[in-house]
């Protein structure tokens, strides 16, 4: 049998796909964080709670209103994103002229409140959420059996990440975003309503978190602790990629998902720590992260 890196080819490809699936979530979540950090200079510690809310809203839509997966894929990010906008308008807006530590305290505090509220209501055990029938079933690739839903997650993630990257880097809207990131006051003096841009950008970043939540619901089950579980890894991804770098967040997300999958295969005890070891090594060499720039 053929082998790659002294692994049988089927094992190698199998791990690669598993890594891509986890990496899909890492990429969407760290992309949202990077977009928010770029413009607001706030590290959104509420991101995990918003990811969890995205999954829960999808579950609630189905459970209470009989609204299925496909509408939820749009409705949940929209709803959770709007809640984010409300949060920005009422609370974050007051912090922009203060030290970053206040942004940390506030976003972290809001995350604790939200997660506790869901825990109080629904406990910590997962609520099952079935994938839609069109995405149920498996593909038999001979060397491995692959659930179609997981392939869909990888594809959806790649499309969402690529679309976001193109909008930010290649369009007029993205030019406004990059300009506002660099010189917000001057951009206002040119006639651009930067406060409104900040509000919309936060809503969009939160919407991405919620979208990841909906995508995750059929895979990881819907629980109040799902955000808290995934977020340490996401922050490591953002730090490794470089704060505020859109392309860096996406690429690092996928790569670390793959790295983690192979660590699981080669030395299982290291699987949960390999990302943090990578973080330490990379920050030693490049303190601003792989794609970050020191200002």
């Amino acid at each position: 049998m053929m082998s790659i890196f002294s692994m049988p080819a089927d094992v190698f490809l199998g791990q690669l796909l598993l890594g891509l699936i986890n990496g899909s979530f890492y990429a969407i979540l760290s992309l949202g964080l990077a977009v928010i950090f770029g413009l607001l200079q706030i590290i959104n510690f509420t991101h995990g709670a918003q990811y969890m809310m995205g999954a829960f809203v999808a579950w609630m839509l189905l459970h209470y209103f009989g609204i299925g997966y496909w509408p939820a894929l749009i409705l949940s990010p929209l709803l959770v994103g709007l809640l984010g906008v409300l949060l920005e308008r009422t609370l974050f807006r007051k912090l922009y002229n203060l030290d970053h530590i206040y942004g940390f305290l506030l976003t972290y505090g809001v995350a604790l409140v939200v997660e506790s509220a869901f825990r109080a209501q629904y406990g910590v055990s997962g609520q099952p959420y079935r994938p839609p029938s069109a995405l149920s079933g498996i593909i038999d690739l001979d060397f491995m059996v692959l659930p179609i839903y997981r392939l869909w997650v990888v594809a959806a993630s790649i499309v969402v990440c690529a679309a976001t990257w193109i909008v930010v880097e290649k369009t007029k809207l993205g030019a406004y975003l990059r300009a506002a990131t660099e010189k917000p006051v001057l951009l206002r003096a040119f006639g651009v309503n930067v406060p409104r841009m900040i509000m919309i950008t936060y809503g969009f970043g939160v919407g991405l978190a919620a979208l990841a939540g909906v995508l995750a619901a059929p895979i990881y089950q819907v629980s109040s602790i799902m955000g808290g579980n995934i977020m340490p890894v996401i922050f490591a991804v953002v730090v490794i990629g470089g704060m505020g770098s859109i392309g860096g967040a996406i690429l690092t997300g996928f790569c670390l998902g793959i790295l983690e999958a192979f660590a699981k295969l080669l030395y299982p005890p290291a699987a949960s720590t390999v990302i943090f070891i990578a973080m330490i090594l990379i920050l030693t060499v490049r303190p601003a992260g792989l794609f970050g720039r020191t200002r």
């Binding site: 007029k172 030019a175 406004y176 990059r178 300009a179 990131t181 660099e182 010189k183 006051v185 001057l186 206002r188 003096a189 040119f190 006639g191 651009v192 309503n193 930067v194």
Partner: protein, 243 residues
Amino acid sequence: MHEPFSEQRSLSPMLEIRRLEGWYGESHVLHGMNLSIGEGEVVTLLGRNGAGKTTTLRAIMGILDRAEGSIVFRGRELLGLPPERIARSGIGYCPEERGIFSDLTVEENLLLLPVVGEGGMRVDQIHTLFPNLKERRTSYGTKLSGGEQQMLAIGRILRTGAKLLLLDEPTEGLAPVIVEQIGVAIRLLKQKGFTILLVEQNFHFASSVADRHYVVEGGKVVDEVGNADVAARSQQLQAYLGV
């Protein structure tokens, strides 16, 4: 041929600043600025570093920490409006540090600013005025020379249709040949009917482009000189500027 400035000023001014006080944080920088500019005039603020020239422009744009008094543009009070509304009333701002966005290409910088009025210049007209901007279309902002950055900073506000341009020391730190190019551009803009408030320390440059000069000292206007009187009063002006 333009009218003598005494007649221009009898019309109601395009921009009128009265008793303007301004602060950076706790420090009180403007102490009762008064000035007015008629439509189509080119007026300079001359003065030493720290006299309050840049601060005056920042106060007009609404990006000063705190300002009091009155800034009336085309009959409308600007003080208290957010910067984006001030810009959209038809004012183009070219800041002292040029304010080129380094993450954007020359082209993106040029096309970034929203249109705030009718009759803005087309991109090809701006390219004719500053051919360097055409050559360097795809370069990123930071890769430009100081002169090219200045051309871009002026060029991009010409597209917006703003009729009043605030130019903060456009010649600072530039080679004489570039300064000359900027001078040609400003005179051309005046011909086209733009109104320009120019902050300058280079008094020779100022007298080559402007109709009138305000001398600023200690956060207020201490003297006003018509361009025709500059030669006669050159010694006094040199003294003001400390050259």
